[in-house]
């Protein structure tokens, strides 16, 4: 049926409105690998000079990029591990098990899932001060995991809900306990869901900016997002080529994950979840 229509006017409009984004993407990649040429859009010679931050620190005050990358990796991985493992058990309980106040917990989950967490940051800042976890990577990991947990449980519950009851009933018939049924029969069924959640939680941790900025501003716990933001905020020497190179380095895992898990990510985002 589509052949009855001419597609080119639509294509033209769509390309025009997408142009800013396309330009940004293209120059993001091109500028990071070429010498800057002020006042001109035509890129200079190909160079790796913009990536010099990898082997020397841009200025004496800054931490080494590798330390920062390591922090970011620890942060994102820990967040992903905590969210995945806790959601794995909690979501099963909410999806399949009968226990007191189950309706209350489910309602609480929906409320928390919709709740705008960023409004809590001032109270969290003060709580971490009281607990002595302020300015430590560990504190930020805990907070980020806690705030994304309702979202993780929500997604995992969706995956558990699709597992056929018959599998569990058969297991129970054969005399296995509910715990064994969960571990041996149900968990393998939601394996794809677990890996999707892990990847997504990793991405959330990797991209997080406001929490590390507020809760761990010191240089010991710096992550790539705050590193890049601090670099950009330093007005004394504006160097977009350097920023873009750092940005490229920062975005590499994200782009890689996007290319590999594109379908899965779109599905999860499409499930009407956080955005």
């Amino acid at each position: 049926m589509r052949h009855n229509f001419r597609t080119w006017p639509l294509l033209l409009i769509l390309s025009l409105v997408s142009l800013p984004l396309i330009i940004m993407y293209v120059f993001q990649v091109v500028d990071s690998f070429t010498a800057p040429k002020p006042g001109s859009l035509i890129p200079g010679a190909v160079t790796f000079e913009n990536f010099r931050f990898l082997w020397e620190t841009p200025d004496p005050g800054r931490s080494s990029i590798w330390q920062v990358t390591f922090n970011t990796f620890v942060f994102a991985t820990s967040v992903a591990v905590i969210i995945t493992s806790i959601s794995m058990t909690a979501a099963y309980a909410l999806s399949r098990l009968n226990f007191p106040a189950r309706g209350f917990f489910l309602g609480g989950l929906i409320v928390l899932h919709g709740f705008p967490t960023v409004t809590l940051i001032i109270a969290i800042f003060l709580i971490l001060q009281f607990l002595g976890l302020y300015d430590s990577l560990f504190g930020v990991i805990l907070v980020k995991s806690a705030l994304e947990l309702p979202f993780g449980i929500w997604i995992m519950k969706g995956f558990y809900d699709t597992v056929p009851w018959e599998i569990e009933m058969a297991g129970v018939q054969d005399g296995a306990s509910r715990f064994t049924v969960w571990r041996r029969l149900v968990l393998p069924q939601v394996q794809p869901g677990l890996s999707a959640l892990f990847v997504l939680a990793f991405l959330l941790g990797w991209s997080e900016f406001v929490l590390p900025l507020v809760l761990a501003p010191g240089s010991d716990a710096q992550v790539l997002s705050t590193y890049l933001a601090a670099l950009i905020a330093d007005d004394s020497k504006l160097d977009f080529s350097l920023y873009k190179a750092v940005g490229m380095f920062y975005a590499l895992p994200v782009i890689f994950i996007y290319l590999v898990f594109q379908k899965k990510l779109m599905n999860i985002y499409g499930g009407g979840t956080k955005g």
Binding site: N4, I13, M24, L41, I110, G114, P116, L147, F179, G270
Partner: protein
Amino acid sequence: MKRINWLGLGLLAPAFCIVIFFFLAPVILTGFFAFTNMSTSTGVTGGEYVLNQTGLRAIEDKGLPEATLKQLKNAGYRVDAKGLAAMAEQFGENAAAEFAELHGDALFTSRRDMERALKDLRANQIRSTRDRKAAAELFKRSVLNERFATEDEFRAVLIEANINPADHDAIVMQAYSGWVWTKENIELIFTLPSSLRYAMNTLMYVGLTLSFNVLFGLFLAISIFYLPPRTSAIFSTIWFLPRVLPPVLYVLMWKWFTWDTGFIATTLSWVGVAPKNWMLDTSTHAWVVIVLINGFVGASLGMILFSSAIKAIPTSMLHASEVDGASRIQQARYIILPQLRWPILFVTSYQTLSLLTSFEYILLSTDGGPGRATEVWSLAAFHTALNNYGGNLQYGLGAAFAMLLVIIGIIASLTYLRFFNFREMIAKPRIEG
């Protein structure tokens, strides 16, 4: 039966604990903090008692009697019986007796005068400077600029300085450097002209961005639906990337695009327009950029949700309309749009809440500038409590700003409960113990 109960609660326990600590506690504590005057200067833990010149002036303005004020100011070093007794103990009876004869009942306002007076001793000289300092300390009766750890200590000094007991409470209150409970934050928010401005900014931000998100999301979803699969895949990637890329990098690209050495300035310089910063030069520009930055991210959510809803429309309906000679615009208007009522409602309500409370992209791009033209409510809370140029972070006032958003958040999320088909969700599990 019993065992299942425990298993369910056990599996839920870790999630429950972590949510209580870092989710529910902050919600409740935001309410508490909003009624304190916590700030960088008061600290977040307890405080101490110290009366300095500024404090003195403040209670003077509050109407402290002149006599008491004088007493507070002049209570420097007093050669009284108590001090002499202490001196006799440390430096010998003779020295104390001689000093009493020389300067009995004298008053000195500064330490230097006191030490000079101690030099007047002839028969029982105190030779080393350190000893003289120690001796001077014995006569110190000052209240000003002295730090006291507890209220009792402070009150004891006031009594010692012979200050009218009726004035003690006012002085103690002024001298306390820690935080106290107060309703001032709430009153301040309702009286400051800037909070009205933040509210208007927020309304404008949410209104404009939301309309952009929904309308543009619709446009993207419908046009992608009509394009051949390979072309539509390219466009959905282009529009999905802003959501996947880290915010710092995404905003960096916008900064480059609008900066005075960036894309727009360079392109326009070809036709003779002087380069300028297209993001920050006027508040209108700042608003356009902010709405676009957030809109481009938000449009992808609409695009994904609307796309999947459009795919669910039976193709027979579209085929039939085609046979009847419907144009593409007619198809979109009469077939596709009516099917999208629920997704549109969902995106609208969901994004209203998240736009109302999020400030990440504004913080990274304009930081509320130029001036405070793009300072929205949530960013104002952030700036007040956690990050401002003045350096005095007002946690209490910031929490009061945030409390309003938390209340809106709670109400909105509770209404989510009605959106979801809650009845069906709490359907009893099919395996009973």
